[in-house]
């Protein structure tokens, strides 16, 4: 059981915090039919990370996160620009910007000799959950030991801070987020500043994507932005219960996925475990599938609002 604190507690906390933060933002992305923004943003971080390395010359988390955040913010602005100047639909604008920036990141990596950055495909996709070992965490008592707590992997504090910031943003701007998601034109006329809230939502999406990306990889980020809120939407017709369901599904995916990845293969006779981030994404997908089949508000149970 001591192994649990040593090996599993930190990955569980990190993946749960990442899943909760993604789901909170994801509810509004799904309502605005902008789910792919999370996907776009998590690709766009690559050139930012490479550029940060070129500028600072070190592979340190803070410059990388700053670079990635800057790239994500730049991409958000570019998407808005392409939409308004080009007059194209949001999906096309996102597609153009995020593929271009991802390709730009790869080119930058190849031509600048920054290939020494440990940016292999596996870590980019699946993150680093299993390596988050708490060496001082020799038992539950470690949670009360300041020196042991100080040795916690930094991702724990980073993701908890991101989760708190996202929760504070959603709570503080709840009305503005809701009005702006439902009826942005009306929101503008009553002074709810939908464009400012839009940009803030994009910014928080970027921050969540970047911090979660570093710890849990892009597969999990994309899954956690979309799957829990989309499944939650099928459970209820009210927004507050929807958010509550999405948080429940996020925790269930993170915990269930981690346990299934660690012990699942043993249960069916394999000796090694599988990627936790990958399994968390799979579990979130299974929850969405279950909600599609059995959710009380799935399509088909709804009476169509006929234009009378």
């Amino acid at each position: 059981m001591n192994d649990f604190v040593l090996l599993s507690l930190v990955p569980l906390v990190v993946s749960t915090a990442a899943a909760l933060a993604c789901a909170l933002v994801g509810n509004f992305l799904v309502l605005r039919r902008q789910s792919l923004i999370g996907d776009a943003v998590s690709h766009v971080v690559l050139p930012g990370i490479v550029a940060a390395f070129l500028l600072t010359g070190v592979v340190a988390p803070l410059p990388m996160l700053l670079g990635a955040t800057a790239a994500a913010v730049l991409a958000s602005a570019l998407i808005a620009l392409v939409r308004s100047v080009g007059g194209v639909e949001p999906g096309a604008a996102m597609g153009v910007v995020f593929t271009s920036m991802f390709a730009g990141g790869v080119l930058l990596l190849e031509t600048s000799g920054a290939g020494s950055v440990h940016l292999d495909v596996e870590h980019a996709l699946l993150g680093n959950l299993e390596s988050l070992i708490w060496f001082e965490g020799t038992g539950w008592a470690a949670l009360l030991d300041p020196t042991a707590l100080a040795a916690l992997p930094p991702q724990v504090w980073r993701l908890l801070a991101v989760l708190v910031a996202v929760a504070a943003f959603v709570l503080a701007f709840w009305k503005e987020l809701v009005i702006g998601s439902f009826d942005p034109v009306f929101a503008a006329t009553v002074g709810a500043r939908p464009r400012v809230v839009d940009m803030a939502l994009l910014l928080f999406t970027a921050v969540v994507a970047v911090f979660a990306f570093e710890a849990v990889g892009s597969i999990l980020v994309v899954a956690m932005f979309i799957c829990p809120p989309a499944a939650a939407r099928l459970m209820t017709d009210r927004l507050v219960p929807q958010v509550a369901w999405s948080l429940l599904f996020a925790v269930a995916s993170a915990v269930g996925g981690y346990v299934a990845a660690g012990y699942g293969p043993l249960w069916i006779g394999f000796q090694s475990s599988v990627s936790a981030a990958g399994m968390i994404a799979v579990v979130s997908g299974l929850i969405l599938a279950a909600a599609c089949v059995a959710g009380p508000r799935r399509k088909g149970t709804r009476s169509i609002g006929a234009p009378a």
């Binding site: 007059g87 009305k175 034109v185 006329t189 009553v190 927004l239 009476s303 009378a308």
Partner: protein, 269 residues
């Protein structure tokens, strides 16, 4: 009040500070295409005004540009002589019903409460007073029994009434509606007309983009005719004539004599 001649005001004149909505020389362009050319109009205080014109005449655009929702290429807009930002609490806007996603997880009451946004403080949620006000607005449009229904489960007419109730909750002096009668049933149309008339009797100004030419004289006392520009504006009795309609619609109307000798318009295409 002096009767206004059915000619648009001089584009170079100052905005009319008495008018709830005064527009001078306003041009709006999408990409390089002018949607509205040099529009000048004064909405009469206390009037029930229809904005009428063929598809693409710039009717919705006129409202949106006046409300700073889309950029104006040039021109001046004033609400009671002031910029929109300074008086937004006195103005309610009802967008086209098709402009929003009715699958949104909200009840009719939730949507009406959005009309009370300006009454709620920062970081405050709706209180009992707000909910009572919102329920009263729903009752006024005959939707008291459907307050807690998800908006996707309402008919088109009921959805339009929810939008109207949201505007009622705003308690505005000027209400701008974009096609409030589009795709609604006869009962809803009658209910909306009744609410608009009662608002009007309270001295409030109503402006509605309207499509059904046959009902213009019945419902509206003033009319603005548009065809990419302001063709005419004034009292319905004076402006809504066969000549003006023919100019507005470019001869695509058949005009038959009314019993009182005025033209009864009917859309051909």
């Amino acid at each position: 009040m002096l009767k206004r001649a059915p000619v648009p005001p001089d584009p170079t004149a100052a905005v009319d500070a008495a008018s709830p909505l005064s527009i001078r020389d306003m041009t709006v362009a999408y990409q390089d295409l002018a949607a509205i050319r040099s529009a000048s109009v004064d909405i009469q205080p206390g009037s029930l005004t229809a904005i009428v014109g063929p598809n693409g005449a710039g009717k919705s655009t006129l409202l949106k540009a006046a409300l700073d929702l889309i950029p104006r290429t040039s021109g001046r807009v004033a609400f009671w002589g002031r910029p929109f930002g300074a008086v937004r609490r006195r103005v309610a806007y009802v967008p086209q019903r098709a402009a929003v996603d009715w699958d949104f997880p909200a009840t009719a009451l939730d949507v009406v409460l959005m009309g009370l946004y300006a009454d709620m403080g920062f970081m405050r949620l709706p209180g009992r007073r707000h909910k009572e006000k919102a329920r009263a607005a729903l009752a006024r449009v005959g939707m008291a029994g459907l307050a807690d229904r998800q908006i996707g489960r309402l008919s088109g007419g009921q959805q339009q009434r929810v939008f109207l109730a949201r505007a009622l909750a705003q308690d505005a002096d000027l209400t701008l509606l974009d096609e409030p009668f589009a795709g609604v049933d006869a009962a809803t149309e009658a209910a909306i007309v009744e609410v608009l008339r009662s608002l009007n009797q309270e001295g409030r100004t109503i402006v509605a983009v309207h499509h059904d030419l046959a009902s213009v004289t019945e419902i509206f006392d003033h009319v603005v005719l548009m065809a990419g520009r302001i063709v005419a504006a004034g009292r319905t009795a004076e402006v809504f004539t066969p000549d003006v309609l023919e100019t507005t619609y470019g001869g695509r109307l058949s005009l038959e004599a009314f019993p009182d000798g005025r033209g009864r318009p009917e859309r051909l295409r």
